[in-house]
């Protein structure tokens, strides 16, 4: 018996003989240095955030009057934008949790980008209720805490359900995002030096891909997916009940929960496309995020667009069929009243345009998808605008009707919210792997094993 090659050097002494292609390509996004366009976009985003902070300081000092709040419209662009951003988050959870449970392996290339988008969208959305209440320093009234007045919050109010739903969603999204990042932080730890290595070492939590670690990790991802799936459906349902639990014509409808969830997934997928198409192009990730991924997402968009279309039609049908004069008037004025423009934008961008996705040629045409998804995002913002503003401005007696026009302050904060979201995303491009490397390898190694490449 010959002893084994005891003379061979220990494993960790040498450098990595050949790094995997996925590591090299995806780590390159982080390590290749900061480019001028990246800095310019980040600078613009920071500028946008700064001007919105300025507006908020002004609004906080002078009161919500500067936001144009006037009877009868006291929920306006801030709430519209809150619902918009919460909705954006839903595609990320759908991709990472629901498609995981359905074992749709194609999700592996896009789930990281979508999860990052979810976390940043929810971080954006969570600011809006605070902005909307005006007196920022009273936000803690929303939390049930023991106080000397002995008062508690009203647990029968949908607004309070929203506090719990959105905070749970934010927490679970961040946990899910971080859990998925741990193996990739370990990859980054092994391939960086200096301060970066120090930070990644801490974030990787000593990950070495041991079987006990993977076992715990797989189980955690499975359970978090199982928990996040009903959670994501509940969150937008609860958001919809902020409206549907009232008796305002145009809001008081049982279809709201599924309608909002479908709309959220629809808008979220569109946002994933809008964000990932440029990222893929700029960083040359075509090998990982293929046209096939975009085609699959287009199919989701087509499906949810039609669910939205059905919900729009059903709202009108029920308004007519209910024979309630207020509902009928409210819906008539949606399409032909002072806000006709936003209503038709919503219908054309969200239902008519997506019908083009029936054609495979267009589903695989990336520039077309980018433009379409941009319009879908616009349409989804208008959808919430239509639901909230038209309903509130045309309630019951015509004497109490009013007109609302978004104020400069609101538009400034709206623009700031997009900059705030972009800021997080741009920073993340340089902070963590934008594609889940370990999960991509799961597929490539499987292919290697079954394709007989050896």
């Amino acid at each position: 018996m010959t002893p084994p090659a005891a003379a061979a050097p220990p494993m960790n002494a040498g450098a990595v003989p050949q790094d995997s292609q996925a590591n090299v390509d995806i780590m390159n996004v982080i390590t290749r240095g900061v480019s001028a366009p990246w800095l310019i976009i980040l600078g613009l985003a920071l500028l946008g955030v700064a001007q919105a902070v300025g507006t908020l300081a002004y609004q906080t000092y002078y009161g919500l009057g500067v936001a144009g709040y006037q009877a009868p419209v006291f929920w306006a662009v801030y709430i519209v934008t809150f619902v918009f951003w919460i909705g954006i988050g839903h595609a990320g959870t759908l991709i990472s949790a629901i498609l995981f449970l359905f074992r749709a392996k194609w999700r592996n290339a896009i789930n990281r980008g979508a999860e990052a988008m979810t976390v940043f969208a929810v971080l954006t959305a969570a600011l809006f209720p605070l902005i909307h209440i005006g007196r920022l320093w009273k936000f803690y009234f929303l939390i049930p805490y023991p106080n000397q007045r002995g008062l508690w919050v009203n647990f029968k109010s949908p607004l309070l359900w929203d506090v719990f739903a959105v905070n749970t969603y934010m927490t679970i999204s961040i946990v899910f995002f971080f859990v998925g990042l741990i193996p990739d932080f370990a990859i980054a730890r092994d391939r960086t030096t200096g301060v970066r290595k120090f930070i990644y070492t801490i974030l990787a939590l000593g990950w070495q891909g041991k079987s006990a670690q993977w076992k715990a990790h797989n189980r955690t991802v499975l359970h978090l997916s199982g928990l996040a799936t009903p959670l994501v459906l509940s969150v937008h349902s609860v958001v919809s009940w902020d409206f549907a639990m009232s008796i305002v014509p145009g809001w008081h409808a049982t279809i709201f929960a599924p309608y909002f969830v479908a709309g959220a997934v629809f808008g979220g997928f569109a946002m994933v496309m809008v964000v990932m198409i440029p990222v893929r192009r700029i960083y040359g990730l075509e090998e990982y995020i293929t046209d096939y991924h975009f085609e699959n997402m287009s199919r989701f968009i087509l499906l949810t667009a039609n669910i939205c279309g059905y919900a729009y039609a059903m709202e009108y049908f029920i308004a007519w069929y209910s024979m309630v004069e207020f509902e009928q008037t409210s819906f008539y004025l949606r399409a032909f009243g002072p806000y006709w423009f936003s209503t038709w934008c919503m219908i054309i961008f969200n239902v008519v345009f997506p019908q083009l996705l029936w054609f495979k040629k267009l589903r695989t045409n990336i520039p077309f998808l980018f433009v379409l998804c941009f319009f879908i995002n616009l349409g989804m913002w208008f959808e919430r605008y239509v639901i909230i503003i038209t309903s509130l401005s045309r309630e019951f007696i015509p004497a109490a009707w009013g007109l609302y026009i978004p104020s400069a302050a609101e538009l400034s904060v709206l623009a700031g919210s997009f900059c705030w979201f972009s800021m997080f995303f741009i920073l993340f491009l340089k902070g963590g792997p934008i594609i889940a490397i370990a999960e991509v390898k799961e597929i490539t190694i499987h292919e290697k094993a079954h394709g007989g490449a050896h």
Partner: protein, 168 residues
């Protein structure tokens, strides 16, 4: 005790090697994988992960906390709202549900940290190598001096591409 360190390319070979090693009675095995391959983890230890208990305990704690919080607070300062009972269960289902998810998710995360022994650290295993966060698999066996040759032969038979003696 000597440590035999081997490198594999394919997960199927790792499973075969681990299964054979365990059959021969070598139980002190550790694997390092670049991606999740549940079949390897199961070959090493077929028991399901303890993380599931954390989820269960978290979820149950959450649902109890959710309902207790709302019922107790409603009764602590009773206010009649919309003619409903002070503690009316149907609307409380929503926050009860949200807290089930919140506590369940956080405890699952805690479970992963405890069960997987994950914490910020600067010391990694001596046998660990950045190769194992590339595309190669590591199988590390601790055995007696007299068994080294057998383990070596066994690993090579399952197409280990490198086998070496680590520092013990």
């Amino acid at each position: 005790m000597p440590t035999v360190v081997s490198v594999f390319d394919l997960p199927g070979d790792v499973v075969a090697a681990v299964t054979k090693l365990k059959k021969r009675g070598f139980d002190d095995i550790e694997t390092y994988c670049p991606a999740p391959f549940p079949e390897i983890d199961d070959a090493l230890d077929p028991k399901p992960s303890l993380v599931r208990l954390f989820t269960l305990v978290g979820g149950l704690t959450g649902v109890v906390t959710g309902f207790w919080l709302q019922i107790w607070m409603s009764l602590d300062w009773p206010i009649k709202i919309a003619g409903k009972p002070f503690a009316s269960i149907p609307p409380y289902v929503i926050i009860g549900f949200e807290l089930t998810i919140l506590f369940g998710g956080l405890l699952t995360f805690l479970g992963m940290l405890l069960v997987g022994k994950l914490y910020p650290t600067f010391t990694l295993d001596k046998e660990y190598s950045p190769r194992f966060s590339a595309e190669e698999f590591g199988v590390v066996v601790k055995c007696d001096d007299r068994d080294v040759a057998e383990v070596d032969a066994l690993l090579r038979a399952e197409s280990a591409k490198e086998v070496s003696l680590g520092e013990s």
